[in-house]
Amino acid sequence: MDNIKNQYKKQMDSYCQENLKLTAEDILKATPKAAVTDLSGAKKKMNIKTKIASIAAACVLTTGLTGVVAGAAGIGPMKEIVPNIFTPKTQTAQSDSKQAADDKVSEKLVDEGYLLNINETKSAMGYDVTLQGITGDITNPQLLFKIKVDDDTFTKANKSFVATVYTGLSEDAYANRYDVNESVGSYMYTTATAVQDSNDTSIYYLSMPGNVYWMTSGNDVVVEFRSIRENCTGDTWDNETMLNLVYRFTMPSDGSALKTVAIYNYEFGETKAFVSDSGIKFYLQEADFGAYDTTIVFQYDLQDTKLDYITSDFWGNYDAVQNEINKVGGEITLVVDGTEYKMTSVGGCYCDEKGEFGPKFRTNWTTSFASINFDAAKEIVLKYRNTMIVIKGEDSSKEPEIVIEDPAIPVEDPIENPTEPIEEPVVEPIDPEVPVETEAPVED
């Protein structure tokens, strides 16, 4: 066995020497500290490409090049690629821009290297629209636009304007104009407010959420910058200029454009239920701890509850359920290590499916909270009156599907289920070549 051990060591050392081309200098260059001054280290994660002879691996390299290696190719630090980021959330009216703080979240993510650098400019009707890139996290991809307008009349009249954008679709969905809500994704355009640069009035910046369903790793995505609306109040506007500028790109397969965040998924009934005054049981279905916000999804089943078809009128039922959701949603708090967060929004859904699709008609509703520091949190709890659902902490038996890893807090993720039975009883000491003697425990 010693022979095998020595040979394995020798062979592994040799393999490391041949395949690990990364040097300490490369890593030091890739630290955020170096990114400001060192162009080659502009992207925190450099993706060293020591290739193996594999077609699949070649695909990774090709897609990765779009955004990842661009920084190393001399385009420069992220701040120079995307100098200003405004308006983090979708707005429907121009007046909303007053409420929109600078998009610090996207700015931070770009600085951390989460960016698919596209930098493609298309022009129509005197507007030069550049899709600068994609940043965000896996629950919220964010489109970054820069719009140049060489029209003094327009720029003097508009400190901001509303853009309508198809925010990311597959080629098929785009080509077939799936413009009704399908079960997956939709073709409906989104509106958001572009804000004028304070130094150069001919420039406007726009940061808006992309379509999370389509904009995932490796997908080919189509984005259309549809139109510009002036003096838009939401439902009305003075003038709409159609641009219809189409951009096509591929999201990097390695996930480098979007930050990975923690997502928990639950089966119906897996958690405790928050029970409303009408006896509806709301079960936790999903908890997404995103960089922009925390999204909690509940699932409920109206069947045999007090609100099960209380009238024959669809909208009467809809309103009754909506009121119930608003009441419960307003009372739920997110408690992180003792600090309580109130919900920032709640959105319900009513599904009138009984008799058409069978007796079961489960429906979801969503409530949002501020983004929290998932890594640092020791305990995350959802609280409604006296009922608490532990998402992260000692009482939680659930693991997130994706974990932002903090090396200081090693993930409790044993190699296998620690409770699984031992495969066979240990009858006698195993081969003497495998020492049974133990040593001091390894400290984490």
Partner: protein, 154 residues
């Protein structure tokens, strides 16, 4: 003992193979292994941990390497349709890597303990600690892993 930018090169040269090899055993893909290795050492530069000694530092690196590898695999399973090669490319006729080729073919539950045992000279207790598995389980896996390895080599 803290790893600084100044002392980083020495630390990296000392532990790069430790980190790379354990990651490679998880992801079985040299390209991903390089990327994850970089992530692990970036985390080392970014962390404030005061290490008590070299063994502590080494255990920390191995633990973070394992977590990072698992996170990558979880991410791949959930979000990526790309085809990741199940096995690394080896020159089948290269007898100089015969054992490595055989070990890497074993299921994860056998190959990781065997790797730590062979390459890092870790004891059963140490392997159990770093993998979060009971010692008895590790013993069985080492035994079975070695049997399977012998079969493959024969």
């Amino acid at each position: 003992m803290k790893v600084t930018r100044e002392s980083f090169t020495t630390t990296y040269d000392k532990y790069k193979n430790t980190v790379y090899s354990v990651i490679f055993n998880y992801v079985r893909n040299s390209e991903d292994a390089s990327d994850v290795t970089q992530d692990v050492f970036l985390k080392l530069l970014d962390c404030d941990t005061e290490f008590t000694d070299d063994e502590h530092l080494k255990a920390w690196l191995i633990r973070v390497a394992i977590n990072s590898s698992k996170n990558l695999l979880k991410f791949r399973n959930r979000f990526s349709d790309e085809e990741v090669p199940e096995m690394p490319y080896f020159d089948e006729h290269n007898e100089d890597s015969e054992i490595l080729q055989a070990l890497i073919k074993l299921p994860e539950k056998y190959r990781i303990p065997l790797h730590l045992f062979y390459y890092e000279d870790y004891s059963i207790k140490q392997i159990g600690d770093v993998l979060g598995a009971p010692e008895a389980t590790i013993k069985i896996r080492l035994k079975r892993g070695r049997e399977k390895l012998k079969k493959l080599l024969n």
